[in-house]
Symmetry: C5
Subunit: 90 residues, 5 copies
């Protein structure tokens, strides 16, 4: 999983049917020091995350698992909201 | 999912059977500021996207889900057309 | 999918059983301007591609789909031969 | 699989149900000389790893296999603890 | 698939059950000219490869296919030993 921060929302009216009930968030990946790393990705929100929160997201086929549909063309989902990080890096 | 802009069309007469009804588009990945990032990829269009439109695409196994066939050798599909982005980055 | 050019052939006598009937080609990934990008990969040929041709390949689990076997340890397959590219980039 | 060192722990109370019994560790990927390479990732611990240990982790769909649940939105798991590396690089 | 050279062996006594009969090798990825590219990865050996040999490996879910078990948390396997490469690059 990858650390990230929710930085925005994507609006799309023309999108695939099974993803229609889900919010699409713009997520900036972060490193262990919570610094930006790489480009933002779009993730489905399954954890109730809001803009500004530090979260972790899962990618690839596993991204469909937290959704209430059998199959959805989704490759990134927010699956947890981070309370704190205990790290040698901090 | 990844933001991108449709920048062209790929023509291929010799291609795998189950992908024959689908348009192949050349897509430039974009970051949260809609700036180019990385090299263009080829995606199957399942959202009715046209050249010049900002879209988001899904990769890996999930790319087959929006197609009307059970199995297709496809690893990237356009699944939504972006209306707007609300972002701290903008 | 990714654009590429067939640049060579790999010979391997000791290889996994289900892949024995397939040709292994060395493929240089290309960007939208048909310039080299990144390192060559090895792909199974399922489209009848020859050295020098511009093709597109699929990666990950989808790479097994065009093969005549149920399961094969393959993560990249050539699935189409490009006739032409219409692109704003050209 | 990728070599890594456990460098921290992630705490998240709001997380997906099937992952609740598992510890989330922050892992710094390492190269063959045990030098840092790239950004830390978050992995589920299925090997009883502790902070400071050199481990290897598996990514993508395979990351769910060592867990006691059928499906979990997980894309990286620690699956072994390294005793030693015999390498031309050392 | 990716070209690589076996450069070492990983020893791990605490590892996931279904992977216990398999040797874990450290593999340096190579480009088409057999030059090093990127960091070494850890692959399961299913082809009888030895240190110093040029091989190709498969990644992601396909890496489990050559193993004698149904499911194993493995994301890279050596599936062939390269005899020769005929390439425009050489």
């Amino acid at each position: 999983m990858t650390l990230g921060k929710v930085i925005g929302t994507i609006w799309a009216t023309r999108k695939f049917e099974t993803t229609k009930g889900y919010k699409l968030l713009l997520v900036q990946p972060l490193n262990g020091r919570l610094e930006k790393t790489g480009d933002p990705i779009i993730a489905v929100d399954t954890a109730g995350a809001g803009v500004g929160e530090v979260i972790y997201f899962v990618t690839a086929s596993e991204a469909v698992i937290p959704m209430d549909v059998d199959m959805a063309p989704v490759d990134a989902s927010i699956v947890g909201i981070v309370d704190s990080i205990n790290s040698e890096l901090n």
